[in-house]
Amino acid sequence: MQRDEQVTFSVQDVSVSYPTVRGWVQAVRNVDLQIRKGELVGLAGESGSGKSTLVLAATRVLRAPAVKVTGRVEIMGQDVFAWSDKELRAQRWQTFSFVTQSAMNALNPVMRVRAQMHDAMRAHDANYSKVKGDKRCEEVLRIVEVPAAKLDSYPHQLSGGQRQRVVIALALLLLPQLVIMDEPTTALDVVAQREIIALIRRLQRELGFAVLLITHDLSLLLEVADSVTVMYGGRVMESGTSHQLLQGASHPYSRALIHSFPPLHGAMQRQEGIPGTPPDMLNPPTGCPFAARCTLATQECSDSMPPLMRYGEHQVACHKVSAADTQGVML
């Protein structure tokens, strides 16, 4: 297969299941995802939609026998599941890195920032030296706009926003091509969140890495991401550019999700949330996972899962959506 040089991260038909005492839970089913060089791609979904599971399994953070993963994942054209443990270790941080969920608590509370950065470099940089490492620490702290003096602070001496910046600086230590950020701003208030997002965008422009941003905040993604994939019940419901989704999200779930955020400006009217609750993944519905909460659902929807149809760059998995609906025409 010929490789597209521009593709940084490619997930092909990946499914992930967890064993539990009550049987296998299919947390992620047949998901495709692609991120190109320098892009910011958003992965949106509620808790339990499988978004974190997908990236953790795709980057081999979750391993057998804790999970069963099928499908193919490529990072910079290399098959992730074919790497030996040693190769995987060499790729981490060098090629891809993480900003984990609850990054506020991701730092070791009893280690100074400098020591934590050295730890990461010692483990993942073949050419590590103490002097070089110190220089790099100061560089990354400068690019995330934290005073270099904070290198000798403990995490509790930093504010929430600073801690978040330090975690981002850690991820950038070895200049990876892909940074996966799992809810990087959830614990922060709006002003700090905006600062961090603006920072990520600027660093991307300057350093050219790609970002996979996982969040439940669709209104934020629509504003800042290049393209967005919406997951529900372990499946991709819709994906497209932010512009397409904003102009005409076609899937009833994405549209309901967009309407779940009251607008900041303009006329205010009573909005309805989405009735019902997310599906039980232990007993997943055979058809569309959203059918039980969907206003358009018919028998067909609860009987069979609609395939993910491709309309140009826009993809939708819904029986009730036809090609015409994806051309910016609202249902």
């Binding site: 509620e46 808790s47 504010s159 929430g160 926003g161 922060l188 208030d189 709006v190 002003v191 700090a192 969140q193 905006r194 600062e195 997002i197 603006a198 920072l199 965008r201 600027r202 439940h216 905040d217 669709l218 209104s219 934020l220 629509l222 504003e223 800042v224 932010s242 512009h243 904003l246 309901a256 999700l257 967009i258 779940s260 955020f261 009251p262 607008p263 900041l264 400006h265 205010m268 009573r270 909005q271 309805e272 949330g273 989405i274 009735p275 609750t277 997310p278 909460r293």
Partner: protein, 327 residues
Amino acid sequence: MSAQLKPQRHGAPLVIADVHKRFTQGRQVSHILRGCSLTIGAGEIVALVGESGSGKSTLARTIMKLYTPDEGQLLFAGEDVTHAKGRALSAYRERVQMVFQDPFASLNPAHSIRTILRRSLPPSARRYSERQREALFDEVLTQVGLAPASNFLQQFPHELSGGQRQRVALARSLAGRPDLVLADEPVSMLDVSLRLGVLNLMLSLNEQYGIGYLYITHDLASARYVASRIAVMYAGEIVEEGPSDVIVEQAQHPYTQLLVQAAPDPSRRGLDQLDESVFTGEPPDLSRDIQGCPFQFRCQHVMDQCHVSSPPLRDIGGGQKVKCFLE
């Protein structure tokens, strides 16, 4: 013959007048509330907006009398409750209730919903018969949309979804027939698709029973959605307040303008249009004395007088008040 169930109340005004609260830690004194004044009318929904550490939750806890103000007054339904104790305090707490942020932490996991509701019954409900209690539980669970109540009463919190748990927390606050409910970030821990449901529930309880709310959040969009008035808090002071639309569309205080700009807004595509330099600085250290306006360190329009004295909360008409020297 036991007592009749209490009738619904119809709201009562709360006046917070120049409240100060300091916390001492060793020799360090942190001045968290620095003269807060705010009025919540009978049956009114007021949103309190500000970033983490601005003192929003401290104000709510002070209103609940979990903390006693060091200075200033709390007037509820015309009565001074600042130093209320004993019976007067429990009567006050029956009428002013609180709903917490995290419904996964605020409900005891070892208790059934029935026990959780029974435990939270106000003193005035002690005379109720068993049947009346069940009727009350039935009523409050139905009010929050958990019907039929009999299904939910025997369940435990882990059997409910986040949205349902937050409804139980709301039902618990309703059992005392409150005039005012302090809701501290009631939807921020909930799934996005369930948030509007809880906010709409608060709105309909307000419409039907005249229950007032102090809705604490850092999300301006949801504040505008539920509240008729928004008060913006910064470093322990109310820096601006006014009708919700006015606050969002014609914010006068530089900090409010910062909040409006920081709020996610899909209609404004592309961060490149945004000036990153606007978002700089951090809130001041409240354990030190601040000379002048607390926002001077981040303000784009800072003037000489801002370093000298703190501006008064000026009434600029249309119900809008601003604590800033800028005209």
